[in-house]
């Protein structure tokens, strides 16, 4: 297993190089640059700015320089305020990850609960309620859900707030829970977790139903085991395998952030920062964010594969 994990991590290196190269090429193919604007800057000012940021070098030179710095862990500076890209990503990710982890937990708990509940009460009224919520959650785009939530619960009822993230925005605040504002956390988490919860619920329900009809379940009941033991020990673990398949990518998506939700709630996360950087042609930030996402997705997939082996003893990695 260990050698498998190490091999997977080493495979990351050519993947990241490919991602960096493709992003670099695409980035410079797109019209407009960081200093392009309606009120055109005089040519000599653009030249001075390009000189300042090494953008007047030939592209191949900029590319090699970027790779060289990357090997030293230097992701460069954002054109917006000359801020360190790795710090921006780290600070943004700190916030996005909080939102993502909370949303993931809510989605997992609600999705699993709803799915199991529905499966156990198949075709009952409660099953239909569960399916109803799951369908609505899956069908509504999350920004529509967010708008509803904001108008009803924040503007009209005033229960929650909409601006920014209520958890610690900087590491210094992380250890000071009194600085946190839970009122700001509720709505974004609900908005982000609804679709994954719905999806997890559907998959769990289907998987549970399939497992409940298996022969070994009937055998376990015939042996006289309590219903809870039958479902919990023999049913659940097997039902979870397909659910795990979807939870890996879901976790990756949640943790990398939803640009739309971060915009709607003005959350200083990395999702918003990335899309913003593309719009502004902030080259270093675009490269840094893309590489960051590549790593996150690769790690998430690796974690899922490892969990697979843990849950399903039939799966063995190695040779």
């Amino acid at each position: 297993m260990t050698s498998y994990i190490i091999r997977r991590i080493l495979q990351l290196i050519p993947v990241l190089w490919a991602v960096a190269t493709i992003t670099f090429i695409l980035m410079h193919m797109v019209p407009g640059g960081p200093f392009t604007q309606d009120k055109a800057l005089p040519a000599n000012i653009v030249a001075a700015l390009n000189r300042r940021y090494n953008l007047d070098e030939p592209l191949w030179k900029q590319y090699l320089l970027y790779l060289w710095n990357l090997l030293h862990g230097d992701l460069g500076l954002s054109f917006r305020g000359d801020r360190d890209v790795s710090q921006l990503i780290r600070d943004g990710f700190f916030v996005t990850a909080q939102l993502g982890v909370l949303a993931f937990i809510v989605a997992a708990v609600v999705g699993l609960g709803l799915g199991i509940f529905s499966a156990l009460n198949q075709n009952g009224v409660l099953d239909y309620v569960g399916v109803f919520f799951a369908t609505v959650g899956a069908a509504l785009p999350n920004f529509v859900m967010a708008s509803f939530l904001i108008i009803i619960f924040a503007v009209k009822l005033g229960w929650f707030q909409v601006l920014g993230w209520g958890g610690p925005i900087q590491f210094s605040q992380a250890l000071d829970p009194s600085a946190w504002e839970w009122k700001k956390m509720v709505l974004p988490v609900i908005a982000v977790s609804t679709l994954p919860a719905a999806y997890i619920a559907r998959v769990t329900r289907a998987s549970m139903l399939e497992v409940l009809n298996q022969d070994y379940m009937r055998t376990a009941r015939a042996k006289g085991l309590a219903n809870l033991t039958v479902i919990g020990r023999h049913g659940l673990k097997n039902a979870l395998i397909p659910v795990l398949t979807v939870m890996g990518p879901i976790a990756a998506v949640l943790v990398t952030g939803s640009f739309i939700i971060e915009t709607v709630f003005a959350i200083p996360g990395v999702g918003r920062a990335f899309v913003d950087a593309v719009a502004r042609r902030d080259y270093a930030m675009i490269m840094g964010s893309t590489l960051f996402y590549a790593v996150i997705v690769a790690v998430a997939n690796l974690v899922v594969d490892v969990l697979y082996a843990a849950v399903d003893p039939r799966i063995r990695y190695g040779r």
């Binding site: 797109v30 019209p31 407009g32 640059g33 200093f35 392009t36 604007q37 309606d38 009120k39 055109a40 800057l41 005089p42 040519a43 000599n44 000012i45 001075a48 700015l49 000189r51 300042r52 054109f79 917006r80 305020g81 000359d82 801020r83 921006l88 600070d91 943004g92 075709n123 009224v125 239909y128 309620v129 109803f132 609505v136 509803f148 904001i150 108008i151 009803i152 924040a154 503007v155 009209k156 005033g158 707030q161 909409v162 601006l163 920014g164 925005i169 900087q170 915009t263 709607v264 709630f265 003005a266 200083p268 918003r272 920062a273 913003d276 719009a279 502004r280 042609r281």
Partner: protein
């Protein structure tokens, strides 16, 4: 099964009705307990907390700033030799700020005396040497300031500034010198009537040499920054907010009452609107699309503030295009646009329909009077003009492209124009919706045909609206307007030292530009749209100077009223 399905449908229907009812009933209400504030009285210091909204700035370094949101904050942190104020008639005038009075002018040499006893926020004296350093810094090629050109040719034209910037001279050659601690001498290439106006711009703000040299790019961090304005920077969280607090060494009046001024960075104005409704913002920009909602809610309506901005919007037309080079074609296109209707339908009447280029709020404003009957809406005249151009009823007219930004409002405007031109002139157009940078790139490369776009003044003077935009080869003249008469008027204005004659030359230039539609057919003048909590006092808005936040030409004027 049938019963269960019915139950399902009923549940869905109930949810939908309930949601609709909650959302539709009434308007958004502010979640703060605000009583009617008594006029003039200020709340005690612990309540002087203000949360404003602005788009996210790039820099707090005034010599590197390019955007309104940066400048808005810098106006609170720094102040130049002069500052723009409103006189008793609400006209914009440049008044001495750090300067003691008007400059002494002798030929091209301007001598300015500083007020006595000026200090920075850390107590060190603010001297003429600081201004000498700062102006030279704005001209420095290493700083690469995007607004260096206000000190260069065609604007202030400070001797040696362009040469230094272009690598043809040194900092020592720049024509600014501190004669002593309180006397600054500036040498221009020619006398400039708008001297004090330009010397109020952020590009001329003073910065501290030792702080800049010690901390480099980090000199604007809260721990390092030293300022001379009413506020200083106490906290900055990227992508989230910046917090300002009063500078105890602020030299001028009034002294700021707000003890904690937080500016939240929200680019999406729809989001900002919601945050205002929940009470999380005290003042905010709002999108024109929300105007109907606001007008229908008496509470919000009383907090709504609309002030004219110095932005003119037009249909810019590439004069190298085979059909657009014909003046009659441009006339047809312009006369087919019902500007009042456009502003009402697309922008909810937030803006002013315009057939003029020099905006309301600057000297030389002529309004729609001289131009309405020449280029304004007239269906019959539009059809006639197109026929005269050789395309009766649109026959043989090629399909032109309208390039717009890919957002709902600008696309709606594009569709309005497309429909108008189809219905009245029977010509087909295609809308190309792209992101902001691509659109700007299309404009700057001159590869556009029809381009809704315009101009926003950097300072309230007509020279800023015309020079560089409509002179042959002008830096912003991307529509290739090249007209000898216009060139003559603009260079006459540039050389004229008598202010009245200068303004007249510029007005004459405007008349030629508009009546000949040399590159642009104006359609509306813009406005800033704000919501301001009634507990906020001291907001005296003026679109000639305001940017980002209402009344932010004087952030030291804001206060929270006693309640």
């Amino acid at each position: 099964m049938g019963e269960k399905k019915l139950g399902f449908l009923v549940l869905t229907a109930l949810t939908a009705i309930l949601t609709f009812a909650v959302v539709a009933c009434g308007g958004g209400e502010k979640k703060t307990s605000v009583e009617t504030p008594s006029a003039g009285g200020a709340a005690p210091p612990e309540q002087q907390v203000l949360v404003a909204q602005s788009a996210e700035p790039e820099f707090f370094d005034p010599h590197r700033s390019n955007f309104e949101q940066d400048i808005a904050v810098e106006r609170a942190l720094f102040r130049g030799l002069y500052q723009l104020e409103l006189d008793s008639n609400d006209n914009v005038v440049a008044m001495p700020a750090m300067a003691a009075g008007e400059p002494q002018v002798s030929g091209n040499v301007y001598t300015i005396k500083l007020k006595d006893g000026l200090t920075w926020s850390d107590g060190k004296p603010l001297t003429a040497g600081d201004f000498e350093y700062s102006l030279k810094r704005e001209c420095s090629p290493d700083v690469a300031g995007p607004y260096q050109y206000v000190l260069g040719a065609g604007m202030l034209d400070l001797a040696g500034c362009d040469a230094y910037f272009n690598g043809e001279g040194t900092a020592d050659d720049v024509g600014v010198k501190a004669i002593d601690d309180t006397t600054l001498e500036m040498t221009l290439k020619a006398p400039k009537p708008t001297f004090t106006t330009i010397m109020s711009l952020w590009a001329t703000f003073p910065v501290r040499q030792d702080i800049v040299e010690k901390f480099g790019d980090k000199w604007t961090d809260p721990a390092n920054i030293v300022v001379n304005g009413p506020y200083t920077l106490t906290e900055f969280v990227a992508k989230d907010h910046v917090t300002l607090a009063p500078n105890p060494n602020w030299a001028l009046e009034p002294k700021p009452l707000i003890q904690k001024l937080t500016v939240k960075f929200i680019d999406d104005q729809e989001v900002a609107f919601r945050a205002f409704q929940t009470g999380e913002l005290d003042m905010t920009n709002i999108p024109a699309t929300e105007i109907p909602t606001i007008q229908n809610d008496p509470n919000l309506k009383s907090q709504y503030l609309q002030i004219g901005s110095l932005r003119i919007w037009s249909i810019e037309m590439q004069l190298n295009n085979e059909v657009l080079k014909n003046e009659k074609v441009r006339l047809a296109l312009s006369r087919a646009i019902d500007r009042e209707s456009l502003v009402k339908v697309v922008y909810n009447d937030a803006y002013l329909p315009a057939t003029y280029w020099l905006v309301k709020g600057i000297p030389g404003f002529q309004g729609n009077g001289p131009f309405e009957n020449i280029i304004g809406f007239d269906e019959a005249a539009a059809k006639q003009a197109l026929a005269d151009a050789g395309y009766p009823n649109g026959q043989g007219f090629p399909k032109l492209t309208i390039t717009v930004t890919d957002n709902p409002v600008r696309k709606a405007e594009g569709e309005f124009l497309q429909q108008a031109w189809k219905q009245i002139l029977n010509i087909d157009t295609e809308i190309q919706a792209v992101d902001a940078k691509t659109r700007s790139s299309t404009f700057n490369s001159r590869e556009f045909e029809l381009f809704p776009g315009g101009w926003q003044n950097d300072y309230p003077d007509p020279e800023n609206s015309l020079i560089g935009l409509f002179d042959t080869g002008g830096g912003n003249n991307k529509y290739d307007c090249s007209d000898a008469d216009i060139d003559a008027k603009l260079s006459a204005a540039g050389a004229e030292t008598d202010n009245t004659k200068r303004i007249q030359d510029l007005k004459d230039a405007e008349t030629l530009i508009v009546t000949r539609l040399c590159g642009a057919a104006p359609i509306w003048q813009g406005a800033f749209l704000y919501l301001v909590d009634p507990k906020v006092g001291g907001v005296r808005a003026n679109g000639a100077i305001d940017a980002s936040m209402p009344g932010n030409w004087c952030p030291e004027c804001w206060f929270i009223k006693a309640q």
